[in-house]
């Protein structure tokens, strides 16, 4: 299970560039560390993050173990019309998690 805090402004003027932020709760185990019994701790990371704005993929990230635990990403989005901003992230077991925020463009 993986939860996240997503921040998208609730309202925006048309063509305003707004900031989208996401903080995912995840250990981002690199796969390079050894546990107390000397064995390798298996890799367990969030490996991708996508942003869908009104059904269209606008941003995608390939994530490597060099991203810190509890991954944080911030990027910008041009608010062209009211609708949904959905962030989808996936872990090593190919489980997908999503969070949707509504934006009202006036």
């Amino acid at each position: 299970m993986s939860t996240a805090m997503v921040s998208v402004p609730e309202t925006a003027a048309r063509d305003e560039i707004v900031e989208v932020k996401i903080l995912i709760s995840h250990p981002m185990e690199t796969g390079f560390r050894t546990g107390s019994d000397g064995s390798r701790i298996p890799r367990d990371i969030i490996h991708s993050l996508r942003c869908i704005y009104n059904g269209e993929e606008v941003f995608r990230t390939e994530i490597f173990p060099a991203i810190a635990a509890n991954p944080y990403f911030a990027f910008y989005l041009r608010a062209t019309e009211s609708g949904d901003v959905t962030l989808i992230w996936a872990d090593e077991q190919e489980q997908e998690f999503a969070e949707t925020k509504e934006i009202t463009v006036s």
């Binding site: 941003f59 995608r60 060099a66 990403f73 910008y76 041009r78």
Partner: protein
């Protein structure tokens, strides 16, 4: 009771011997300037990026390599005709040379991404951006890390 203390001591001894070995393994298996260059070459397909238009903001000196704020921005109008399609970030000392690859579209309006990264050691970070005309742009930043990531947990 005494058996328990023995196992603890053994475990401690094993840790004492194992830890430096682990460090050596990590060092040899880690990314090097050469493996970073190889990863960059795979991304650039041999084209040499121009050192312009990209800004890579990382603190010059960080105490804790476990979570280092990083901001990459590219000067671009982000229109359908002229926009940044990809930003890739590489490092030369972590176990893997790649940090992250961002795929951008004109819908973003601004080519800027922020995240937090891990740094295993003092090193140079490289960001390379590809624009829609196929050209490549880059920026390098050197970071001094006083307490690296992954050293202890």
């Amino acid at each position: 009771m005494s058996a328990r203390t023995v196992t603890t001591r053994r475990r401690l001894l094993a840790l004492g011997i194992g830890a430096p070995l682990g460090l050596i393994v990590a060092r040899t298996a880690g990314a090097t300037p050469e493996s970073m260059q190889a990863a960059i070459d795979t991304f650039t397909e041999g084209t040499v990026p121009e050192e312009a238009r990209v800004a890579l903001d990382i603190p010059l000196l960080v105490e804790n390599g476990n979570t280092v704020p990083m901001m990459v921005s590219v000067e671009s109008p982000m229109t359908a005709d002229d926009h940044v399609t990809t930003i890739a970030v590489f490092n030369e000392a972590n176990p893997l040379p790649e940090v992250a690859v961002f795929h951008l579209t004109p819908s973003l309006g601004r080519a800027e991404v922020q995240t937090r990264i891990r740094l295993s050691d003092t090193q140079t970070i490289t960001a390379i951006a590809r624009t829609s005309d196929g050209r490549l742009w880059s920026a390098n930043t050197s970071v001094i890390v006083t307490a690296p990531a992954c050293a202890e947990e």
